[in-house]
């Protein structure tokens, strides 16, 4: 089929299956569909859109057909994305299985494991969460202590994970566990899949400074996990983890980017007003806003440029650390200014009038940008070492 025909097919497909209500921005939790054993649809439109996409494997357009993926070429996948973007179609399925585990399975999993897990990810039957961080470890991810002791063809897992997003709603977790205490810390880590229904697994949501959050703590108390659930080799989990971290870092920096579309000056003009020459009334705050807006635009262009350089064949390498670092700090600066722009109303925490203190809570939440997915300090270390080649 020619690309032109394919485009036509895509358009017809969207028009037939993606209702108007599936083309509105997602604002509430229930507007998103995450799949999983206990999933329910918000309404028929959501179900129809998801089902139609999943049937074609278009929840994962470029994954191989043999596992139920779309099997599309890059060019076809681009067309699908273009036409969906053009119509503002919601993603039919949000899934850590698609964003994180799937790529790892395709890279490191055995054929058996791919056949076991990929179809359920594509069809939204299994909801996954990530178990990397631990309370003691922080930036020193490799210092993790959750232990998996060999017991015949099983491991006995004990320990605790934090920042497991939607851990309380997930069916399965992909976790890093320590299988060898005696070697250099990176060498004794294994990448392990654990069913959340196994006896001894429990979760508890984490409340953030911004209020409720999708994050959980997940506890493992003598949990028996089959050794067949290891991805890659035993004690070689660090390689898998590093592969996935790069994925995560890019995902975060593009999320930051999307939030940057409304100019700060728009809010400022609304809230503060302009003088007779059209200049913002608060000249000192204006000066900070100008500085921020120039940086934000220059950063946006930089993301475009690096994207283009990647397409031209340059390796992105440690530049993802630069994007993560700068994007996080920029977003924090934005919300410091946003608070000042909004004045008193930006400080309200509760109540309908302010949509439960949306600005104040977003402000608080941005403080995590430079911590999650590798702190700003860690990113600066990476830039210093891998881009600038400074000695350690």
């Amino acid at each position: 089929m020619s690309l032109e025909d394919f485009r036509k097919e895509v358009i017809d497909f969207i028009e037939a299956n993606c209702a108007e209500s599936m083309r509105q921005p997602m604002v509430k939790e229930s507007d998103t569909y995450w799949g999983g054993r206990n999933a329910t649809f918000q309404n028929e439109d959501q179900e129809r859109w998801f089902t139609a996409m999943a049937e074609r494997g278009w929840t994962t357009p470029t994954w191989p057909k043999e596992y139920g993926g779309g099997g599309l070429s890059k060019a076809e996948a681009k067309i699908l994305k273009q036409e969906m973007d053009k119509r503002k179609c919601r993603p039919p399925l949000l899934s850590f299985g698609i964003w994180m585990l799937g790529p790892a399975l395709l890279q490191f999993g055995s054929e058996e494991q791919r056949q076991q897990y990929l179809p359920d990810i594509i069809q939204g039957k299994t909801r996954w969460c990530q178990g990397y961080s631990e309370p003691g470890a922080g930036s020193d991810l490799a210092g993790l202590q959750t232990s998996a002791i060999s017991d015949g063809d099983h491991y006995i897992v004990n320990g605790q994970k934090v920042w497991t997003s939607y851990g309380d709603k997930a069916d399965m977790i992909f976790a890093l566990v320590r299988t060898d205490q005696s070697v250099k810390k990176q060498m004794g880590i294994t990448f392990l899949l654990v069913d959340m229904d196994t006896e001894g697994v429990s979760t508890q949501p984490i409340k953030l400074i911004s209020g409720k959050s999708p994050f959980c703590e997940t506890f493992f108390d003598n949990v028996r996990v089959p050794k067949a659930n290891v991805i890659g080799e035993e004690n070689a989990g660090w390689t898998v983890a590093k592969y996935l971290l790069t994925h995560e870092r890019s995902a975060i920096s593009s999320a930051v980017d999307a939030d940057m579309l409304t100019p700060l000056s728009y809010y400022a003009k609304n809230s503060i007003g302009v003088d007779e020459t059209g200049v913002l009334k608060d000249s000192i705050l204006r000066s900070d806003i100008v500085e921020w807006e120039i940086d934000a635009a220059a950063f946006k262009f930089t993301l475009e440029r690096i994207n283009e350089e990647m397409k031209a064949g340059q390796a992105i390498g440690a530049k993802s650390s630069f994007m993560k670092y700068y994007g996080s700090e920029l977003n924090k600066r934005k919300y410091e200014l946003r608070l000042q722009v909004e004045g008193a109303d930006g400080l309200v925490w509760d109540g309908e009038r302010t949509n439960e203190g949306k600005v104040a809570r977003q402000f608080c939440r941005t403080k995590g940008n430079s911590i999650e997915g590798g702190t700003s300090e860690v990113q600066l270390n990476i830039i210093s070492k891998h881009i600038l080649g400074l000695p350690s």
Binding site: D140, G143, I209, D282, Q340, G351, F363, K367
Partner: protein
């Protein structure tokens, strides 16, 4: 004036510290989690009244302790360390205005304020941006009529009185009124877990005796209020940032990453050392502002705005560095460092934002 505390001020500081030990940050959390509608501990307020704190800025002849702004600053600094909330800031400052400018009738209220714990809130201009007032007072026979709105009025849901500004024939005047049913009060919880209200006045009747001070005194009242409230908020921010910084440095000395204490990382050390330096500067300008108020030096207006602008900025830096250096833990509601960040942002906005005060300083310096 002196930078070093007198013995008397040091004693006051010590007793305040003892008092607020009973009101730790945990109390802020508790009140919030209980959805407490008052927003502060009434038991603590009672103890503060018993210590006579409402009269610290009132002359002895009117029943006060006349400790001066520097003395009051010592109290606010301690409030800042534990994020302790109460109506003491506005009540003590309003009592000072009554003591200094009030009519005999108004001065007669000082006893119940100082010993009876009646609280007063203060509403300057209409927004924290401090642009022209939206409240208007018009004469109506032998009364005034007050109309308009006020934003972000602290503790207005529990205050007995309100000291507020309004325009009368375009001139800013100050009135002390009862917080009666005629005043519409919409109260919301802010980021710092405290309660602030939007007030609406729809032709609220005020007696002519509500005006505070003679016509000539109105500018002095405005200046004292803006300068005094902000110098004291700066003292609160000083206590807040000092405590947040000490906690952060403490954490740097105990938290391990990559096998070493994170306080051994030079990049964090330099940031901490720079922050230390900035806090030293805040301390000096806060003292200088309070002392200038005590001396009745006209430069106080500039110093107070400098203090508020600088204290707000460095409190922002100190609490951001705090959350960042605590890392993931700092992002959780379980850890207290976030409470410091939240209070810092609200205090910065009260009675004039950072940019308002920077601008005010520049104008006072004729540029």
């Amino acid at each position: 004036m002196a930078y070093v505390l007198t013995e008397e001020q040091q004693m006051l500081s010590d007793s305040a510290r003892d008092l607020f030990k009973a009101a730790p940050v945990a109390l802020v959390r508790e009140l919030r989690d209980q959805d407490n509608e008052v927003g502060y501990s009434q038991d603590l307020w009672k103890e503060m009244v018993e210590m006579g704190l409402n009269g610290l800025l009132v002359s002895e002849e009117n029943g006060g302790m006349d400790f001066g702004w520097r003395g009051m600053g010592v109290i606010l600094e301690e409030c800042g360390r534990t994020l302790s909330n109460s109506p003491v800031l506005t009540t003590a400052v309003a009592a000072h205005i009554i003591d200094r400018y009030g009519s005999e009738e108004q001065k007669a209220m000082l006893t119940e304020i100082i010993t009876g714990g009646k609280s007063i809130t203060i509403a300057l201009r209409s927004t924290s941006r401090m642009s022209a007032d939206e409240c208007i007072v018009t004469a109506d026979g032998d009364h005034y009529l007050l109309s308009g709105t006020k934003q972000m009025v602290a503790n207005a849901n529990t205050a007995d009185y309100i000291l507020l500004s309004a325009l009368s024939d375009g001139v800013e005047q100050y009135y002390l009124i009862e917080n009666s049913d005629a005043v519409q009060v919409e109260t919301e919880r802010y980021m710092d877990s405290r309660m602030y209200s939007r007030l609406s006045f729809d032709s609220v009747k005020l007696s002519q005796s509500a005006l505070v001070g003679v016509a000539k005194a109105q500018r002095a009242i405005a200046t004292t209020l803006i300068s005094g409230l902000n110098a004291l908020l700066s003292a609160e921010l000083l206590g807040l940032m000092t405590e947040a910084f000490e906690r952060t440095v403490g954490y740097l000395k105990e938290r391990r990453q990559f096998g070493v204490l994170i306080g051994s990382f030079q990049a964090l050390q330099h940031r901490a050392a720079d922050l230390y330096s900035e806090i030293e500067l805040v301390k000096s300008i806060v003292i200088k502002a309070l002392d200038a108020l005590d001396d009745g030096d006209p430069i106080a207006t500039a110093y107070c705005s400098m203090a508020k602008a600088k204290a707000s900025k460095i409190a922002q830096l100190a609490t951001n560095e705090g959350v960042q250096m605590y890392g993931g833990i700092g992002m959780t509601d379980d850890e207290e460092i976030g409470f410091f960040m939240k209070r810092a942002r609200v205090a910065a906005e009260q009675f004039g934002s950072m940019s308002y005060h920077a601008d005010r300083f520049a104008r006072l310096s004729s540029y």
